[in-house]
């Protein structure tokens, strides 16, 4: 398949891996613990497991799977609000597929649908707007979530609804921003990361400039990476080259998609529709300042939180969850006491077991054998 197979060439992968091993060996001599590289984006976590890349990198380095899975980091209170909206008479609640399974404190949207709520899976917010056109007697609410990657599409849908004078469409806005999140992680006292694989699709929208502070202020190197296995390997190689030569820069491996200044029309749409919230609650990480957006007052009539009454009850994360420590690389997924026992993909307790992009779910599904076989045999 064109534009796909070129980026999965095993021979080129081998070459990149040889170079990664060489550089990692050179760097290892200067350190007493493995290099920790965080892939910020859930899409990267998925790709790393899908292609088995974590088995291929040398033992002197490890991936730390970051907070970039928007489904995983949604707090239970917001899911409860979403279910309350879905159960409001007359409402059709629309959402992306993998948001259906995220558990709130009293079940998921899938369960709400089974109990009679009209919950429909769509592939794009434009499909939700189309439902609103076809059902003028119903209220269509779109469960908007995701980083800057998905923000332009929901913003443009609101602008389209306004142009057409569609009044029965609204967003339940849970969009989050990447920069505030990375900054919060960098400010965390127990952080031990050595570098970042930067999120490719967020950067397609916001560009590479907003990350400069990571290199300049925090002295951590970053490489914006694509999502194919060769993209990830090449980005790792670039990161190691920086670490080896003592540089801290923001480099762009995904130049075929990401421009330095980002995408102006997309940014315009975001800025005209959304404004920053003072803070937003994250599952596993707590409250982070300026890390979420809401609709501007000009578009209040498209804001489901203003149009309907939502309970807005804050539900704390289960006490036993160690998602935050896993997210920051302090512990490995399988080192959490709940991993695979109280917390499984069937009955997720913590954020990271929820979506297939969550680090714990990925280990549980794709890496179970490896983590089990690493444990000493018990008699």
């Amino acid at each position: 398949m064109k534009y796909v197979d070129e980026f999965r060439d095993p021979q080129l992968a081998r070459r990149a891996l040889d170079e990664i091993v060489r550089l990692a060996d050179a760097v290892r001599k200067l350190r007493d613990r493995p290099l920790q590289i965080m892939e910020v984006c859930g899409g990267h976590t998925h790709a790393i497991f899908r292609y088995g890349l974590q088995d291929l990198i040398p033992p002197s380095m490890e991936f730390v799977h970051g907070p970039g899975c928007p489904v995983c980091v949604l707090p239970m209170g917001r899911v409860d609000d979403c279910i309350a909206l879905a159960q409001t008479p007359g409402v059709i609640l629309t959402t992306f597929g993998d948001a259906m399974r995220v558990p709130g404190s009293r079940g998921s949207l899938l369960q709400a649908r089974a109990e009679g709520a009209d919950v429909r899976m769509v592939y794009s917010p434009a499909d939700a707007l189309d439902l609103a056109r076809r059902h003028p007697d119903r209220e269509v609410v779109f469960f908007a979530l995701g980083f800057e990657t998905t923000m332009p599409a929901t913003a443009l849908t609101v602008l389209q609804a306004e142009r057409e004078g569609i009044h029965n469409f609204s967003l339940f806005c849970n969009h989050i921003t990447i920069i505030a999140t990375i900054k919060a992680m960098l400010d965390s006292p127990d952080l031990r990361l050595d570098g970042f694989l930067g999120p490719g699709h967020v950067s397609m929208v916001i560009g590479t400039e907003p990350y400069e502070f990571i290199a300049q202020h925090y002295r951590k190197p970053m490489v914006i990476a694509g999502f194919e296995p060769l993209d990830i390997l090449l980005s790792l190689q670039m990161l190691l080259e920086q670490i080896h030569s003592g540089r801290c820069e923001v480099q762009n491996q995904y130049a075929r998609v990401v421009a330095r200044r980002g995408n102006d029309p997309a940014l315009d749409a975001i800025n005209s529709v959304y404004e920053l919230r003072e803070f937003f609650e994250w599952r596993g990480l707590g409250s982070i300042d300026a890390s979420g957006v809401r609709l501007r007052s000009t578009y209040a009539r498209f804001d489901a939180e203003q149009k309907f009454s939502v309970p807005s009850v804050r539900i704390p994360d289960p006490k036993a969850c160690q998602c935050g420590e896993v997210l920051k690389g302090v512990i490995k997924p399988w080192e959490c006491k709940q991993f695979g026992t109280a917390c499984t993909p069937e009955q997720p307790l913590g954020a990271l077991m929820v979506s297939s992009e969550g680090a714990c779910a990925a280990y549980y599904r794709f890496g179970k054998r490896r983590s089990l076989s690493e444990e000493p045999a018990t008699i």
Partner: protein, 338 residues
């Protein structure tokens, strides 16, 4: 009865029901042995001593009812034939029971019945008995079909998932995921235009060829719901062995790959309705592939992996050289957000 729709009277046991059976269903099934007057079919049993009876049943609910490459009727016939075939049975006869929603267009029912008749004649496995019920509007979604089937299994046939042995190879009979991808696109939710077609097909002739050429076949399974990953997980669990697939060997059509890449789905978990996997001794692989190449439904069969001792489970060796577990899904596959 053209232009009419199903009413509660069609399930009432009176004249309307008689007309439905006599004018729509029986002519479509085209089986002279069934005149619809008896409550049971009587089948001859000419089989050597030790022959066993295979008996299976399956229910079919699909949205949409018609899709490129097939329809609910074709699935109902092929699905039950394939369940018999993969157990090593020679399918003999089918039953077909329908639950119809009040208001269903009779022309639509006729099309489905004709598809059932056509598929059963093509397969040489007649529909010999059936039942029809009508439920009020909203109590069912247009039409639900249950087919059961009986077949003969030779006395020396000992297929079982537990028979897989270290050193065996895994064979798949054709391209994976086409049915699942077709249905997903045919629902129209994704607004994807493709030339994909369902793979729905009867597999009994191909499985018979395989057993003839390779009587030491350990087991066969048709890769329906949950796809290849689900059935191989079951075989790995039953046999207590590791099954390792080579990603580069898996036959997946370009369009199905494309749909999966776009939606973030894994073709190994998508349903197939005309593909089976078999575990056979490595020494029999060439013989098996040669036999399957003679049948149009399985001409793209190939060896995709092997069985070894180790933790019971299914592992994919990726093209990059890494490995990942292919576990059972926790629920249905859902498209990913980004």
């Amino acid at each position: 009865m053209s232009g009419e729709c199903i009413t509660m009277a069609h399930g009432g046991g009176g004249r309307s029901m008689q007309r439905l059976i006599q004018e729509v269903l029986l002519p479509a099934y085209g089986n002279p042995a069934t005149d619809g007057r008896e409550d049971q079919a009587l089948l001859p049993w000419n089989a050597p001593e030790g022959t066993r009876l295979a008996f299976t049943t399956d229910s079919f609910v699909v949205d949409p009812l018609f899709f490129p490459g097939g329809d609910i009727g074709a699935l109902a016939v092929h699905g039950t034939i394939n369940d018999l075939a993969c157990g090593g049975a020679e399918p003999l006869a089918l039953s077909c029971s329908m639950i119809l929603e009040e208001g269903l267009d009779i022309a639509l029912l006729r099309r489905i019945a004709e598809s059932i008749g056509r598929c059963s004649r093509d397969a040489g496995v007649p529909v010999v008995t059936g039942d029809t019920k009508v439920v009020a509007r909203g109590a069912a979604d247009k039409i639900f079909i249950t087919t059961s089937g009986v077949g003969r299994v030779a006395s020396d046939c000992r297929l079982s998932s537990a028979q897989a042995q270290a050193g065996d190879v895994v064979l798949v009979s054709g391209p994976l995921g086409n049915h699942g991808a077709t249905i997903m696109c045919a629902r129209g939710d994704m607004a994807l235009q493709t030339g994909l077609r369902s793979d729905t097909a009867a597999l009994h002739r191909a499985t018979a060829r395989l057993l003839d050429a390779c009587p030491e076949t350990r087991c066969m399974r048709d890769a329906t719901r949950g796809g290849l990953a689900a059935i191989l997980n079951e075989i790995a669990t039953a046999s207590g062995l590791t099954i390792r697939l080579q990603e580069g060997e898996l036959p997946i059509d370009e369009q199905t790959r494309g749909v999966c890449e776009l939606l973030g789905l894994d073709p190994l978990y998508l349903a197939n309705e005309g593909v089976f996997a078999a575990i056979i001794p490595a020494t029999a692989a060439d013989r098996a592939l040669h036999a399957l190449a003679q049948d149009p439904v399985t001409r793209h069969a190939r060896v995709v992996g092997n069985v070894s001792s180790g933790n019971p489970g299914l592992v994919l060796q990726t093209g990059m050289g890494g490995e990942r577990m292919l576990d059972l899904l926790s629920g249905e596959q859902l498209p990913r957000i980004c």
